[in-house]
């Protein structure tokens, strides 16, 4: 037990670990607002319009390849996607300000299967309540923003997934 507590202390309080830890929880927003609609392309030129996915729960993650916590949470987002896709829950990663070549190179090291959309001129992110990257929102089947997370998360955490799944009902 002593050894476990020492390890916990070192992990929790070393500067390096503070920088690398994921954030915790999802913030339930007090003023439920409509998610701003967007039309964006993925790397293959497929077009996605958010309003086409009303009646589904949608996780929307704003990110960039150069952003360390964005990179850190990508593997857990992929693991979450593997669980949620078959349940009809959607996930979009919206890259801010970069071109498809940059994102394509990124996916060589961080392979993900959920749609990566390109907000090249940042017009979409400017319509969402985002101040820093990464920021992630969970939109309910009525098109309302219900949850927000600033900073990376472990998205395959069963407790987080339970909150997302609960919005389906």
């Amino acid at each position: 037990m002593t050894r476990i507590l020492i390890i916990l202390f070192l992990f929790a309080f070393s500067p390096l670990s503070l920088a690398q830890q994921a954030g915790k929880g999802l913030t339930k927003l007090p003023d439920v607002t409509a998610a701003p609609d967007f039309v964006l392309n993925d790397l293959d030129g497929n077009q996605y319009r958010l309003s086409d996915y009303l009646k589904q729960v949608v996780i929307i993650n704003f990110w960039a390849t150069w952003c360390p916590p964005c990179r850190a949470e990508m593997p857990s987002m992929q693991r979450a996607w593997e669980l949620l896709e078959k349940e009809g829950i959607l996930m979009f990663g919206i890259d801010v300000g970069e071109d498809e070549d940059t994102i394509f190179q990124f996916t060589a090291n961080y392979p993900v299967e959920f749609p990566l959309l390109m907000d090249t001129d940042s017009k979409v992110i400017d319509q969402w309540p985002v101040r820093g990257l990464p920021t992630t929102f969970v939109v309910d089947p009525k098109g309302k923003i219900v949850y927000r997370a600033i900073g990376g998360r472990e998205w395959d955490d069963p407790a987080l997934l339970a909150l997302v799944r609960a919005l389906k009902q």
């Binding site: 954030g23 929880g25 913030t27 339930k28 300000g97 001129d121 820093g132 600033i150």
Partner: protein, 206 residues
Amino acid sequence: MSDFQTVYPRHSVFKYCLILGFFGASPLPGPVSAEVITGEEQQTGLRTWEWSEAGISVQLVQRLPDQTRAFFQGRGFSSEDADSIAKACVFQTIFRNDGEQPLTYDLDDWKVDYRGKALPLHTRARWDEKWQVGRASEAARIAFRWSLLPTRQRFEPGDYNWGMTSFGLLPGETFDLTLNIRINDHLITRSIPDIVCTADQPGNQP
């Protein structure tokens, strides 16, 4: 009273309570128990300053000017513009709220204490003015904007941001940083002393 409700996974709450309980962290804004820890990465020699109190932390990590030049040139800035950023005392900054209360901050309320003067940080708006009259491309300006720590932010418990902060001093200069943070509408002011802007390497200017 917060307008927000943060929903935690149960085991995270347990871990958090365990850590707080075990190490006796005090809630803010109570008696001052601020602590600044400094460190140095062995391989790079880059130094770090970390203030933490009741689960809230601000960590500053030195960036080599050449590292900053390369980053912004890679995002589309000219060598001259990238050099002007690199010489503005840039740190990687990690601001976390692992405490129990929501917090807000405004970097325009923070001060660089340098040789008896209180100077403002170089925030997004200040840099935007520079880019308006410069030649930086839209893509470069977008990358720059989002790579800086947000000027204003509200963190619920569990939130955090990484981002660069720029203090506008020349490489090698030393300063104190005054932080102002509102925790559940109570303003606290703390200081991180003797922060050193990374020295530039000879011959690395464009």
